[in-house]
């Protein structure tokens, strides 16, 4: 109230658009809660919940990841306003996914957790993706941006290994169809193209 910065004014500028995106980002959670509470997840709700939260985690990551590509192709810089929120939601859905897995597959049994984390490459990749998301989640605030300066941008390049690891996590689960893994892989590569080119120029 006292100190209205430019940024805050800009945020307030459109009034309704951020709340709208926020509500849209909550819809998957609503679907998850609806399915979990009222049923409709079928005879194996555990599996359904894991797949559902995992799917939304990778979709949310793809959405955040697409922001800068859309900016460089279409000049949609306004999307930048939502990037922090989208990123936090990606972190949220990934954490929810991990929570479901830890509760229902691992039953919070540390011997199982250790075994899974030491033996199964797809679990290691998923866990590594989640770990690398954490520092980005923690620094997604104005204070950290100011505090870290240049290093903030460098830190948030972690999104590249996160996308790669998340993709490996899905590919290593393929049983009967390559379709999903193929779509995710193509999207990640295409969305990374503009930035790969930029890396070339800066070097």
């Amino acid at each position: 109230m006292v100190d209205v910065t430019d940024r805050a004014r800009q945020l307030r500028g459109k009034g309704w658009d951020k709340p709208l995106v926020f509500v849209l980002c909550l819809l998957p959670l609503a679907a998850v809660v609806y399915g979990a509470v009222l049923g409709g997840l079928g005879p194996d709700p555990v599996k359904a919940l894991i797949v559902m939260t995992g799917d939304w985690a990778i979709r949310a990551l793809l959405v955040v990841f697409s922001v800068s590509a859309l900016r460089s192709w279409l000049g949609w810089s306004r999307l930048l306003r939502f990037r922090r929120m989208l990123g936090l939601f990606a972190g949220f859905y990934a954490s929810l996914h991990l929570l479901v897995v830890a509760t229902y597959l691992f039953a919070w049994d540390w011997t199982i957790v250790l075994e899974e984390l030491s033996e199964r490459p797809y679990i290691i990749a998923g866990f590594a993706a989640w770990l690398l998301l954490l520092p980005m989640v923690v620094t997604s605030n104005n204070y950290s941006i100011r505090r870290l300066g240049r290093r903030w941008r460098q830190l948030h390049r972690l999104i590249y290994p996160v996308m790669g690891l998340a993709w490996l996590h899905v590919v290593w689960q393929v049983r009967s169809s390559y379709l999903e893994a193929l779509i995710y892989g193509l999207l990640i590569v295409v969305l990374a193209l503009p930035r790969l080119r930029r890396f070339q120029f800066t070097r």
Binding site: P43, D44, V46, K47, R120, R175, S177, Y178, L179
Partner: protein
């Protein structure tokens, strides 16, 4: 060492004769138990298939007394990739399949090869009910009342030659009715192939099923005729069978082709041998819920150890997974 390749097992050990004998002993025991049955089972739905009810006494391997999975779940939660990769796809799309007329081609090392119409096959056997545990390799399980007859009844009619050491099964290939077979991204090279060693095929627990829950098999469960091998992971229990081939060499199964390190020929349920990507020590008995996930320990040979362990005596089950 105890490690013995299946090829090293003397062929006398797996001749049908030896198995007939073992089977007779087994059957006599089971018959004695059946004689003690208190009352015949009552079925809620009138059955289109006549069958002999079996004893519900605890300890009868043919008839587990565990809570049965509801029909609605067993018929709507299926892995039948011919109709799509989602568990709900088979129930949605399998109605496109025509199962009448149906016949099975019998080929290979057998004295009576030929094309056998399903009606004729059914006339030659007695249908009975069996309640088996079904353990999927994906760590979930169900309890299902099947209607069917021992595969050995058919094998004996067809008279395999002494060279027949294995049986190969083939699922229908009909992309026009099986939409999953039209997918360009499938990892499976159709048609779906499975196989058993001759002694496994002759085992009294090994069932050819034509119905479940007192009615005919729904298409999505493998109509009109499928295999049920309760001590092996579900993918061995091949559905909608159109071809049976008796062979001297071990057949190459579909899943062995896709991921040989993950799915072996034997695929016996074994809590001590993990799938490379997940643990097999526990299973979710369906229906499961979030409040009570129904997570139970997986049993050796899916609880049929007493009946089938002898088939694998001396084999390293870690190697022959």
């Amino acid at each position: 060492m105890l490690i013995k390749k299946p090829d090293d097992i003397a062929s006398s050990e797996i001749t049908p004769e030896a198995v007939y004998l073992r089977r007779r002993e087994f059957m006599q025991g089971a018959a004695a138990m059946a004689a003690m049955a208190v009352a015949p089972m009552a079925f809620s739905a009138p059955s289109p298939l006549s069958h002999t009810p079996v004893d519900a006494r605890a300890g009868n391997p043919f008839y587990t007394g565990e809570t049965q999975t509801p029909f609605s779940d067993a018929s709507r939660y299926n892995n039948f990739y011919e109709f799509g990769t989602d568990k709900s796809d088979p129930a949605k799309y399998a109605s496109a399949l025509t199962v009448d007329p149906w016949s099975i081609d019998v080929e290979g090392e057998v004295d009576k090869p030929g094309k056998y119409a399903l009606e004729d096959i059914l006339k030659s056997v007695d249908i009975e009910e069996r309640v088996y545990r079904l353990r999927c390799v994906e760590a979930w399980s169900m309890v299902i009342p099947w209607l069917g007859f021992p595969l050995s009844d058919l094998i004996r009619q067809w008279q395999p030659t002494s060279k027949a050491k294995y049986i190969q099964f083939e699922t229908l290939y009909r992309p026009s009715e099986m939409r999953g077979q039209r997918s360009a991204f499938s990892t499976i090279d159709w048609p779906y192939i499975e196989g058993l060693r001759m002694d496994e095929a002759m085992h009294p627990l090994t069932l050819m099923s034509v119905g479940m829950y007192g009615r005919e098999l729904p298409n999505q469960n493998g109509a009109p005729i499928r295999l049920v091998v309760p001590w092996k992971y579900g993918f061995k229990s091949v559905k909608s069978i159109v071809k049976i081939r008796f062979t001297e060499r071990q057949p190459k199964t579909s899943w062995q082709g896709i991921a040989p390190r993950e799915y072996g020929f034997y695929a016996n349920v074994n809590p001590k041998v993990d799938h490379p990507r997940w643990s097999q020590r526990y299973e979710r008995r369906l229906p499961s819920s979030l409040l009570s996930p129904n997570r139970i320990r997986t049993q050796m040979f899916n609880g049929y150890e007493e009946q089938v362990a002898g088939l694998y005596k001396g084999m390293n089950l870690r190697r022959y997974y």
